[in-house]
C-alpha cells in the first residue's frame, strides 16, 4: 500500500470511528444564556436616553445614598429594593424584546399546558405553573428558558390576537407585593409577588387587556394554591 493510499484510508477510518459531534442541548442553553446576559446591558446603550438610562441608575443610587443619610437603614433597604426591581424590569423588558426577534420566542411550541410544564423539568430548579387561557382569549403559545436576575428562569408565552405576552416567573424571595405597572418604550410591564412566585408580565398589548390577563393568572394561582 502506498504512503498516500494509507493516509487516505487512515483519514477515512478516523472519520468513521470519530464522527463530528453535536453540542449537547445543555451547552446550547448555557451559551445562549451567557451571551444574552453579556449582551443585554450594552444593548441599552444604543437606546441611550431611554427611560432606564445610566442617568437613572445614578439617580437611583444617589437616591438610595440620600435615604441612608436621611432615613437610615430601613429607607436604604427600601431604595435598594426599588433599584433592584428597576434593574429586573430592565432585564424583563430586554427578554421580551429579544423574544420578539425571529426564532427566539419559544423553545417548546405547544398550546398544551401538559406539554409545556414537563418541558421545564431538568432545566430549572422549580416547576413553573402553566395554565392555558384559550377560552378567555389568551392562548398558550409555548415556553422558553431565559436568564434574568442572575438565574435561569422559565418564560411562558401567551398570545392575544397579534400581540405576544411574555410571563416570566421564578420562586419568590420576599413576601407578597404589588401588582405594579411600568410602561417603557411602548411596552407595559406588570409585576407582583404572590404565593410562591415572583411574576413579571410584558407585552405591547393595551394596558386594560393586559391587566385582565394578569387578573386571570392571579385568580388561577389563588385557586390552585387553595
Amino acid at each position: 500500500m502506498s504512503e498516500t493510499e494509507f493516509e487516505r484510508r487512515l483519514s477515512a477510518a478516523i472519520r468513521d470511528e470519530m464522527p463530528p459531534l453535536h453540542a449537547p442541548e445543555e451547552l446550547r442553553q448555557r451559551v445562549r444564556a451567557a451571551i444574552s446576559n453579556a449582551a443585554t446591558p450594552t444593548r441599552w446603550e444604543r437606546w441611550g436616553g431611554g427611560p432606564y438610562s445610566s442617568t437613572t441608575r445614578w439617580l437611583a443610587l444617589a437616591a438610595s445614598l440620600a435615604l441612608v443619610a436621611v432615613g437610615g437603614t430601613v429607607g436604604y433597604q427600601l431604595a435598594e429594593r426599588r433599584a433592584g426591581e428597576a434593574a429586573l424590569a430592565d432585564q424583563v423588558l430586554a427578554s421580551h424584546v429579544r423574544s420578539l426577534m425571529p426564532g427566539h420566542l419559544t423553545d417548546v411550541v405547544s398550546s398544551d399546558q401538559h406539554t409545556v410544564k414537563p418541558w421545564f423539568n431538568g432545566k430549572l430548579d422549580y416547576s413553573p405553573p402553566v395554565s392555558d387561557f384559550t377560552t378567555q382569549g389568551f392562548p398558550l403559545l409555548g415556553g422558553r428558558l431565559d436568564y434574568v436576575g442572575g438565574r435561569p428562569v422559565g418564560a411562558l408565552v401567551y398570545g392575544r390576537r397579534q400581540h405576544v405576552i411574555n410571563v416570566l416567573l421564578w420562586p419568590a424571595i420576599a413576601g407578597a407585593e404589588g401588582p405594579s405597572v411600568r410602561t417603557r418604550q411602548g411596552y407595559h410591564l406588570l409585576h407582583w409577588t404572590a404565593g410562591d412566585y415572583t411574576w413579571w408580565v410584558a407585552s405591547d398589548l393595551g394596558l386594560s387587556e393586559l391587566q385582565e390577563f394578569a387578573g386571570l393568572l392571579r385568580a388561577d394561582q389563588t385557586r390552585s394554591s387553595r
Binding site: F6, S11, I14, E17, M18, L21, A23, E26, L27, R46
Partner: protein
Amino acid sequence: MESSELERFEAIVLPHLDAAYTLARYLTGNTQDAQDIVQDASLRALKYFRGFRGTEPRDGRAWLLTIVRNTVRTWRQRRHPQSADTAFDEEQHSERIADDDAAVNLDRKETRARLGEALAQLPDEFREVIVLRDIQELSYQEISEVTGVPEGTVMSRLHRARQRLRRMLVRGGKTGERVI
C-alpha cells in the same frame, strides 16, 4: 453591543457550536471540560466580534474554532503549567518508520478500536491538525488560520501526525505485539 450586531453574531457564529464542541471534546477528551471551554470561547468571541469582518454564516467557523483552540491552550497551561515550557519540536516528535512496519490493517476491528486512544496520545499540535482535517474536514487554508502556522507546515504536520498514528497502530497495545 447593538442589537443588529448581536443578530449578526447569532447568525454567523452560533451555528458553529457543534464544530466548536467537536474540537474542544477531541482536544480535551472530556465532555464537561469541552462544555466549559465552548461557553468560555463563545463569550470571548462575542467580546471580539466587532473586529470580525465575516458576513456569511460559513465565515464564522474557522474564526470560532481559532478561539476554541486558543481557549483549550490557555486551559491546558493553567492545568499543567510545566508542560507549556517544552516547546513543540516537529522533528523530535517525528520518527521515520521502516516500510515493512507499514502494513496496518485498517479494516480490522481491533485496529480501529485503538484509533481513538492513539489519537489521544498524540502531542496537541499533531492531534489538532488531525481533528481539524480528518474529523472536521477543514481546508488546509482554514487549518492554517486556526492554528496560526503556514499551510506548508499544516501539510507536513498532518503527514507526520499520520505517520505517528501508523507507528502506534503497528506497535499495537502495551504488549508490543504487531497487529497486521
